[in-house]
Amino acid sequence: MTGPAIVTEKLTRRFGNLSAVDAIDLTVAAGQFFGFLGPNGAGKSTTIKMLTGLLAPTSGRMELLGLDFSSHSIEVKRQVGVVPEGMGLFERLTGSEYLNFVGRMYGLDRTTTQQRATELLEFMQLTDRPKAMIADYSHGMQKKLALAAAVIHGPRILFLDEPFEGVDALAAGALKALLGRMTERGVTIFLTSHVLEIVERLCSHVGIIHKGRLVAQGSLEELRAGIASEEGRQTTLEEIFLSIVGQGGADRPQMEELSWLM
């Protein structure tokens, strides 16, 4: 692969006095399946929002596919697919209408859009109720549709904010396979999830953000190498995560404080 797909330099976002994202320097190589982890409120979604154009950074620089985001936002967006935090669906369209709308918004011609929309709806098993509006979809169905919309234009980078939340096991398996195939073909996937097992299984590289700062970044092997483990047993991502973010449990809530509950 050529140069990195995503590079951030001192990327910062402040809300008043709070630094939600604090000068992070991130590098994700092209074709990587990158897991972006952090506790609640660490700055994961804020980072994704900045990288996808939903939120303006307070300072710092972002470069996607070698293009500066601030000066080439349209060109960058053309090559990026997003499943944002709230999914960003137009709920009063049907699934088919929505995919057709998104395809056209990304500049695909009508025939290609229609063909891809049909194939994606079939793949996502969303063909049972073609006239149902998205508002009437279950949460899992909406997630699958959001994912279909994110890939309809064949993006080179895919940002997924909690993509498997609410998706049934059968569909999740198919989606994981699809995402795996996409990375094999050189697509970069930037994923956030609280389910560390999923990240461990899918991602080759991981970044961990904590209180707005990037506290670890590298391949799973590199991160494992930095953590001591019992002999003969591979350190899990959960242990790595807790070790880095929880600092050996120092930040973890103390159960003794909840004695009235036990």
Binding site: T52, G53, L54, L55, A56, I74, E75, V76, K77, R78, V80, V82, P84, G86, M87, G88, L89, F90, E91, R92, L93, T94, S96, E97, N100, F101, V102, R104, M105, Y106, G107, L108, D109, R110, T111, Q114, A117, T118, L121, E122, T127, D128, R129, P130, K131, A132, M133, A135, D136, A149, W260, L261, M262
Partner: protein
Amino acid sequence: MADVAGKVSFPEQIRLIAGLRWQILRNQLRKKGSRVDLVGMLFAAFFGGLVVFGLSFAFYWGAYTSVSTGEFKWLVLLFWGILAFWQLVHIFMAGFGATFEFRRLLRFPLRMSAFYFLGLAYGLADFAALASVCWLLAMTAGATVANPAIAPALLLIVVLFLLMNLTLERLFSSWYERLLARRRTREVIFGLIILTSVSAQFIRPLIERYQHGAPPWVLHMLPYLSFTPPALAGHGVAAAADGRWVGVVSGAVGLGLYTFVFSSFLWRRFAAQYRGEELSESDAPARPSLQQLSKAAAKSGALDLLPPQVAAIVRKDFRYLTRNGFVAVALIMPPLLVVLFSSQFAGRHPSVIQRGVTPDMFFPAMMGYLLLMLMMPAYNCFAYEGKGIQAYFTAPLRFRDIFLGKNLMHSGVMAFEATLSMSILAWRIGRPSFPILTATIVAAIFSVVGQFAIANWTSLSFPRKLEFGSLRGQRNSGGAVWVGFGVQIVLAGICSFVFVASRWLGSPWLAPGAFAGLAVASLAGYFASLDALTLLAEKKKETLIEALCR
């Protein structure tokens, strides 16, 4: 072993919930947009207050005159007025009511009595109830000044009448809520409300027709009206003035019975809600196969001449329009109003002939009024996007394309409505002269295009999410409303000036010429504004996303 929380008393629960409402209000005011909204609401409250205060004098004087002259039928009429206002107006004012759903509190160990009390308290919080209470107080004061001896009986009657109205209004509201749980029902009822409002225009012709005597069936019904709450209240007060205490007691007992019956029904409704009544809509039924849809969607059309992004926005907005019953009802209004106004002011009508209203005057005035109605949604054009607004920021397009698509769609709808209305006008009152027709069309272009430039700005600056098929809490932000009204007043002033100048100077083609110049200027301004609005959208994206993704 875990603790179990102790019981919370009824007053404590009420206090906690009142505190919660206060905190929610205080926190809302932290946001700049909400503060602008509050200013708008305060203006509305001020003018509403003036109306209520003014009418309070009328009620005071009416009650005073009625009691002092012994003409108690007027007192009955005043009670009827309050009943009608309280029970009907709150439906029309639904958009300005409290948006807090107190049923959300049911997850807490709330007592049924506290729930019932809260439900009643919410009934006192809307404009119709507050105004009615003011007028009842004014009536009490007027009647007491006229005859101080009736004060105790009057107070009893008024309190019972108030309680009866309060429970009846809450009962109606809870039934509406049940009916309105389904989107389609909501839209039908909203349509009926609009048609009822419009039908008020027919009151005058009806009065003119029946001014010399009511139909016999109405006369047969009259004796039964004495059992209605306003009649019971009025006759109770009359009995107090005559010293007939049996009459007072029977009036009070009658009102008490009404209150008791309504309260019993209301308790049942609230009990159903308290048990967790689920009113949400069921799933939409399955429909034809995907292949049929694919064929329909694959059809090409005139929209293909547009850039794909603009065409996609036009298509999407058209679909949203066809799925939004409220907007559809709003689109029926212009031609309907043309029919109604032309019925009242058409050339045949004596007042029109006497005052010399000709198609040349009526035509531009009516079109201006219709544009005023049809343009208001443009001032909050992202209202129904919801979370989809994010797609506009993640997709590779500039906001100028979005505005072009949205404005194009809106213009198309307006062109259709204007053509239809013009045809009806021509049929009902005759064709205007060619210069006036041309001037009206060009003035419409000037006004619409000019407004789009400003409406696009307010849509970015004062966004407000609106829900499909909802009545309550559905209003644009105060900022958008005030800017919209301001712009429309200015444009109406400019257009009127040009029309009057053209007529005064006796130069019929002056108006079309002037409007053509103004239309060119507004078109130039509109296209020049698109790039500035694209930049503004980038700056405002957080506000927009936050407001619409709630």
